[in-house]
Amino acid sequence: MATVDLKEVKKVYPSGVEAVKGVSIAIPDKELCVLVGPSGCGKSTLLRMIAGLETISAGTVAIDGKVVNAIGPTERDIAMVFQNYALYPHMKVYDNMAYGLRNRGTPKDEIDSRVRSTAKVLELSALLDRRPRELSGGQRQRVAMGRAIVRNPKVFLFDEPLSNLDAKLRGQMRVEIKNLQRALGVTSVYVTHDQLEAMTLADILVVMNAGLVEQTGAPLDIYEKPASIFVASFIGAPPMNLLALTGSSSGPILADGTAIGFAPPETPAVTLGFRPEDADVTFNAEALPGALVLPATVEAVEPVGAESFLHCAAAGSRIIVRVSGRATAKPGDQLRVVAKAEKLHWFDQAGKRVD
């Protein structure tokens, strides 16, 4: 149905704020692209430029190969789901969904059949005569989705659509959005700052920071090979453990003097990282060749049920280790944290990945 291509897109607000500093993303047909990043990194601004709600300062946005910089949101044939749903308060659910079609001059009976079939898919059939204020948050969210779907647009745009729902409902809707998007095969751009949502929804994940793209790729590729310290610490919960390195005559050592115990990558690295689940703890003192071994003190234990997180002080910083099931360690225990060499991530002076 449609591809979305951004080429060196920039946005400078009249106030002088440079919110987006040159972003290029190519989204293939039928795929769901998630923009994720911390607050204020320019995600919404980028999405609104794709929607046509914000002018584009430089670069091009193309939908289906056609540059749309100069045309308005209506002609771009996109539909948007807003964070606060933006339902028309005075209109019934039915009219909320029908409004966009009416403005496009769709015949009445076609509007009716499309609204009713969309309502059926979203389980809104019983609510068509209600007004938005008579709906729960989750139902309003569905209506907002319905309003987008019923138009059958080329592109769906979502701006943090689930952030007003409780955790459980958010989980449900996440799955539902993914299934709907796949079933309808509509190219979508989805903005969130929740990395879990980003990981589970995305076909293409775009991690943004301060108006720039840090990394683009499949979610698991990004998780396994974060391109920078920023991505490494943003994607994954709890975040990756990062340790500073200093040089010595025998190669890099940890900041507190602990030797690494095996050959580091050839390119000089100043930061070393490993994910909480890639480390283990041991009370034994045997030699472990080919692994990073850190003497550590347990500071806190967080049992979550299926797993526990040990917060430890090691090599002069705090690190988190994930152990499955119930943890045997208690706060105050002295133990050793072990991470296999091949599970380590290395970053250079500029924070970029080194292999």
Binding site: R48, A51, L53, G72, P73, T74, I78, A79, M80, F82, Q83, N84, Y85, A86, L87, Y88, P89, H90, Y99, G100, N103, R104, P132, R133, R147, R151
Partner: protein, 282 residues
């Protein structure tokens, strides 16, 4: 409730009833006077109970015509005043909702300048600019016309500001949703803004209707002929310095009739306020 003990309730009610009596008594007395003959009114004391002249007096005033204002009937006066009050209220709402719409939702050069220009007119009430306005009306030949009564009063900075305040509370997302849904400026205005403003319009309508109904200075200047008078002006003209010259029974009837339409408007529109208050739009 604050007072729970019977004594407190009693005192509270007593105070309320006293208040109502103080406010209502003059109106009641006017009504009583409007049901007696002129002779009864002129010979004190005025009875406390209504007399038997109700139909005679009201019939004479409404359909017969009143001598002191050139034989014009109160019916004509009511019609004039209604046209003027409706025109002023509708005109003010129309003008101010459009200007607020422009100022809040459109970006055009000198937008803030226009806003301040409108704002500044708040400091120039009708009385201040009455001479130039009168001259313009004379030059345009609008003396003794409904247009002359209405048009100079319909520019309203207050209503514009109220609508502006309300429009600014409409979330940006809603405006954008409408744009994405293909609603142009007119569609947005009629399909979304106007329905959302219903309660505001109703409230303003009541206030402005009463404002128009009670206008004194401007109708006094711009209407010369008796059959273009508003009821307030006519009421003034009916009263002569000499008691004997004044048809007090008809004055009382006119006064009673003058307060009926504003009360009707308030009562009929009350439904809207209550609705606006209880179901706040989300």
């Amino acid at each position: 409730m604050i007072g729970q003990s019977p004594l407190r309730t009693f005192i509270a009610h007593a105070v309320l009833i006293l208040g109502i009596l103080i406010v209502a008594f003059p109106i009641y007395y006017t009504f009583v006077a409007s049901t007696h003959t002129l002779q009864t009114i002129l010979r004190p004391p005025l009875p406390l109970l209504p007399g038997g002249q109700l139909w005679n007096n009201y019939g004479e005033a409404l359909f017969g015509g009143i001598g002191r204002i050139g034989g014009v009937s109160v019916g004509t006066l009511l019609l004039n005043t209604t046209i003027m009050a409706l025109g002023v209220a509708a005109g003010k709402i129309f003008i101010s909702i459009l200007s607020a719409y422009a100022i809040v939702f459109f970006r055009f050069p000198l937008r803030m300048t226009f806003f301040w220009l409108i704002f500044i007119t708040l400091m120039l009430p009708v009385e201040v600019r009455i001479l130039p306005t009168y001259k313009v009306m004379v030059d345009l030949g609008m003396i003794d016309t409904y247009a002359g009564l209405i048009i100079p009063l319909i520019a309203s900075a207050t209503a514009t500001l109220l609508f502006r305040q309300f429009f600014m509370t409409i979330p940006g997302e809603l405006v954008e949703a409408a744009r994405v849904d293909g609603a142009g400026p007119w569609r947005f205005f009629f399909d979304i803004l106007l329905p959302l403003s219903r309660t505001n319009i109703a409230a303003l309508f009541v206030i402005l209707f009463i404002y128009g109904w009670t206008q004194y200075l401007w109708p006094l200047l711009v209407t010369n002929s008796n059959d273009m008078n508003t009821i307030v002006i006519a009421l003034r003209k009916m009263v002569s310095f000499a008691d004997a010259d004044t048809e007090w029974h008809l004055v009382m009837v006119t006064a009673m009739l003058a307060i009926v339409p504003p009360i009707l408007v308030v009562v009929l529109m009350q439904r809207w306020f209550v609705r606006g208050l209880v179901e706040s739009e989300k």
